[in-house]
């Protein structure tokens, strides 16, 4: 058996523990999939794989147990998936029969979002697909996850970009019955950004994380669902050396800003990546260039909305592995 492993890996196949056998990774942008694709995925698992599937932590499917000999055939078979789940949302796919054109930039993952979840502030699936359209295919290793709200169920805090939905809550005193449900909830579950003073609710804009729970709590719609924004946390990671939490980069960023900065990432990587390494992840590039450089380049040409706040500096800490517990 002979093939270029780099090519096959870019083609979203994996080099596995079993020399003869590969595993195919199927992207599911935003983690949302039409059920009809399941028939095809099952067929591939049954006919080419070992009849099982792994659901990836990025919300894709991995089909293990595929013979390397079959990989072109499998590529042809998954054409409808590339056609429907990538090309149709705008991703440039030259020939869907050739399989995935890249695997470096990972599947854009997303929580279930406001199509279902009461807490979500936006349609994560839609934005995931929009971002997928802009950044895929691309070989650079970038991980993006979209969370409907700052609760971050999708765990964007361990991604290169965690994009968390925010909503500006607008208070209408004339509709407030002073039940303080929003205040109590914010104290208990959020950041104590609300207080009840002079018989009205006062919002500390500094503390407010835009989760929108006050809106959800209110029995009279005294809290209006205002502008839709995003918090962007960056450069979280697991990994063997220095697992660390992503930290806030932008708060109250507009959808356009989010899309623009994500698009800008690739130029930044292009300029700074250490090509002597197999694949340098963006977090390590930022470690090298420093945050101010990253910030400057990532914001180049981005028209910031007036509400948007930017971190002056970021200290990721995390912890160093390889130390006494």
């Amino acid at each position: 058996m002979s093939f270029n492993t780099k090519k096959i890996k870019k083609n979203a196949f994996r080099i596995t523990k079993d020399r003869e056998v590969t595993a195919l990774r199927i992207r599911v942008p935003g983690g949302h999939i039409d059920a009809h694709y399941l028939s095809l995925i099952k067929e591939i698992a049954d006919e080419h794989g070992d009849g099982t599937l792994h659901i990836t932590t990025r919300q894709g499917f991995e089909v293990p147990g595929i013979s390397f000999a079959d990989f072109e055939e499998v590529n042809e078979k998954i054409a409808p998936i590339l056609e429907g789940m990538e090309k149709e949302i705008g991703v440039e796919i030259v020939d869907p029969g050739d399989g995935y054109p890249a695997a470096g930039t990972r599947n854009v993952s997303a929580c279930i979002g406001n199509r279902v979840c009461r807490y979500s502030n936006y349609d994560t699936t839609e934005l995931a697909q929009e971002i997928e359209k802009n950044i895929f295919p691309n070989d650079y290793h970038v991980k993006i996850a979209l969370s409907g709200c700052p609760n971050d169920c999708i765990k964007g805090h361990l991604q290169d970009f965690g994009i968390l939905g925010m909503i500006e809550p607008i208070y209408h005193q004339e509709r407030c019955i002073g039940c303080e449900a929003c205040v109590d909830n914010c104290k208990k579950r959020v950041t104590s950004a609300l207080s009840f003073e002079q018989e009205r609710v006062v919002r500390d804009e500094q503390r407010c994380i835009g989760c929108g729970e006050c809106i959800l709590q209110c029995p009279t719609n005294a809290w209006e669902r205002g502008g839709q924004f995003f918090k962007v946390v960056i450069m979280g990671r697991t990994g063997k050396k220095n697992p660390r939490l992503a930290k806030p980069f932008l708060k109250w960023a507009s959808r356009d800003v989010v899309i623009s900065i994500v698009n800008n990432v690739y130029d930044y990587i292009e300029r700074h990546i250490d090509t002597s390494l197999a694949k340098e992840h963006i977090g390590y590039i930022v470690d090298r260039t420093g945050y101010p450089q990253f910030k400057e380049e990532i914001l180049k040409g981005v028209e910031l909305n007036s509400e948007c706040e930017i971190a002056d500096k970021i200290n990721w800490n995390g912890y160093q592995t390889g130390e006494k517990i």
Partner: protein, 339 residues
Amino acid sequence: MGFNFSKNEFNQLLESLDQEYQIYAPVRKKKKDSFSANDLITYDLVKSLEEIELTAKSKYSAKEIVFPIRETLFHFVEGEQFMASDTDDKYIIFLRPCDRNAFKRLDKIFLENGPEEDIYYKRLREKVKFFVIECTTGFDSCFCVSMDSNTVESRDYSAFLRFEEDGVSCEVNDQDLAAEFEAQAKEIDFEPEFIRKNKIEVNLPDRDKLTNEVFEHQLWTEYSQRCIACGRCNTSCPTCSCFTVKDVLYDENKKSGERFRRWAGCHIDGFTEMAGGHNFREEYGDRMRYKTMHKIYDFGERFDFDMCVGCGRCDDVCPEYISFSKCINKLSTIIEEGV
């Protein structure tokens, strides 16, 4: 007098009425409900037929126009009290029969209960003309027929309107308005129609069979497990009339301030709290019992009809999926079958 309007003509009528009246109707506010991207159906000013939302029930009733959620009673300036002014505005409110009937309940409390009229309610209420929206199908959670509030007597509305595919047919009772209607439309025969059967029927408990044991039934303790005391059933209710009065002195100048009232709800913590902190009905199930009895028993004992008009809004908004109509039926069954 019956009239028929094309849509255009009806819009002309609205334009004409708009000169003199604030016209309130249910509208659809895009993506403005609590959950993101959900539309809020609520009362607001309209200027055209197209703005009126006729396909969905409003989350809140028209109550808030006449009994504002928060209403200043007095302004305080250096200890002197000044009654808050009202406006010269007159109002037209588009509403369905249940909601029109709800105003009869509010009228009872604010104008007839106790020795004095509620001046604040009254001064607004007097300026309102009701345009009843014909409602023959209702919505899933409605049970107005069971609550006898599916119909409206003609003295209780200025106009009764049937919204049709290509226009509006209506009846006008109000002589003040007749001229304006005539100006825009042709006369027709019009007979209001009312819904005669809801998807949901409730059986009101037999008053005579109500025993003390019913109050202690596990029905209510079950609700203690479910109800979270959020008060949405109160705030969405077109007949809930409770309020709390509060004073405030302004931060900027503590010599100025106001006394205002705002809606209160018997499900919400603090409703019964007395000076010193004692509360009655700490258990949420007791609040459910209290409200239930109030809506379908106590009010009726005091006046001549039940308070609940069966609009079903409390069912629509309960985050814990508690159904008031189901509660009534459970209660009736329990009473019927003996505790």
